[in-house]
């Protein structure tokens, strides 16, 4: 049985922890709102990009001059996985969820006899994947210093990927990130970005979609300019979704922690009070029995 002093110390320390988790929760909530705003602000661009891309592919009609980034190399031997995770922990199962999802994918690819290369974005994913597939990781991108995610960060990653593709480093590139559904639910998602494939026909029936466009310069040239940009946009979107998801996960994890600390404080206080009462009773009995003995 712990002494009264031990219990008192214990309660004080749990209270301190609770204060920290409470503060972290509030910080996460504020950051979440900012991340969500950023994700929303980026949406118009990627939507328009999708529409334009659909339009232009339609104009080219899948002809022979579509760039390789779109059609792929025609093989699927070497896979590149870009795994995006958070830089920091303390956000529940957020990182391990993505890592597990990627790991399942890697295992399947390896079982099929494919070659796998990994680019880790974010420290936590690297830490987890390094244990099993350290040899497969060819690059890790550190975003620790980045305060607010900008398009330049995504662009740098996309450029690396495209550069690797042009050197024939891989055939298929898949992006792993966590789709932000709500504060309590983030869905790990795999998205193939190279080859891009033809965008779905649904996007092209918007206003003016059927108009006959004039192109300046040639459609093929625009397309070869557009596709790398589209890849950057996809990466950017994934990073933003991830940032929002991380903050959401952190918020609910810290909320849980705060609540747990509260429960713990309650239990400890009851034990403390009970023990204090027991001691008082004991002392009284001693005094009374001492007085009776006289």
């Amino acid at each position: 049985m712990p002494s009264l002093k031990d219990l008192r110390n214990r309660i004080a320390s749990v209270k301190a922890t609770q204060k920290i988790t409470k503060a972290m929760q509030m910080v996460a909530a504020a950051k979440l709102r900012r991340a969500q705003e950023a994700a929303e602000a980026a949406r118009p661009y990627s939507e328009r990009m999708g529409a334009v891309l659909a339009n232009i592919t339609q104009a080219i009609g899948g002809g022979g001059d579509a760039p390789a980034l779109m059609t792929g190399t025609g093989k699927d031997d070497v896979h590149l996985l870009v795994v995006c995770t958070a830089e920091r922990g303390l956000c529940g199962g957020f990182n391990s969820q993505i890592a597990r999802f990627a790991r399942d994918h890697i295992r399947k690819l390896l079982a099929d006899g494919k070659q796998v290369k990994i680019i880790c974005v974010g420290k936590k994913g690297f830490d987890i994947l390094r244990r099993d597939y350290g040899a497969l990781i060819i690059e890790r991108v550190d975003l620790r210093e980045v305060k607010t995610l900008g398009f330049v960060n995504a662009d740098a990653i996309a450029k690396k990927v495209i550069h690797l593709f042009n050197e024939g480093g891989f055939d298929i590139c898949t992006l792993f990130y966590s789709q932000f559904k709500s504060v309590i639910s983030q869905i790990p998602t795999a998205q193939q970005i190279i080859p891009a494939g033809a965008p779905s026909a649904a996007a092209e029936v918007k206003d003016g979609g059927s108009a006959v466009y004039e192109y300046e310069p040639e459609p093929g040239e625009i397309l070869s300019d557009l596709i790398p940009r589209n890849i950057s946009v996809q990466v950017f979107r994934a990073l933003l979704e991830n940032a929002a998801g991380e903050m959401g996960a952190k918020m609910s994890a810290m909320d849980n922690a705060t609540r747990n600390a509260g429960d713990m404080i309650n239990k400890l206080s009851i034990t403390y009070n009970r023990q204090r009462q027991a001691q008082i009773t004991k002392e009284l009995i001693e005094i009374i029995s001492g007085a009776e003995a006289l």
Binding site: A38, A41, A42, P44, Y45, S46, R48, M49, A51, V52, N55, I56, G150, F151, A154, D207, G208, A211, V212, Y213, E214, Y215, E216, P217, P219, E221, I222, D225, L226, R229, S232, V233, F236
Partner: protein, 135 residues
Amino acid sequence: MPEAFKFELVSPERLLVSEQVETVVIPGAEGEMTVMAHHAPVMTTIKPGVVTLRTAQGKEERYVVFGGFADIVPAGCTLLAESAVAVGDIDRADLARRIQEAREDAADAKDDQTRSKAEQFLNQLTTLEGALLPA
């Protein structure tokens, strides 16, 4: 008075402009072009330069864009810029950094094609800087 049409300037980070305008001057890859209402559908890439727009209220606004493309339909015009800032907010240091990077790219280019492309880009950037300096 010319008829107004819808113009949108979008960068990956956010939607910068979405309003009714009378004319827009776009630095197209093959020369500047002025877009007015009921323009024939055109899609063009843009080079680094200044986009000038005259709003329906007759106000003139200028934005610096660094590459991207424009989607013009009779009903409106959408400009997807790789990055865009209002001329008043342009950061000299940022521009200088971009020029420096372009210079390095041009120096590092392996074959003639990429080199000429990089040099072209560098030229466009320096012209842009020249155009902005007195502003």
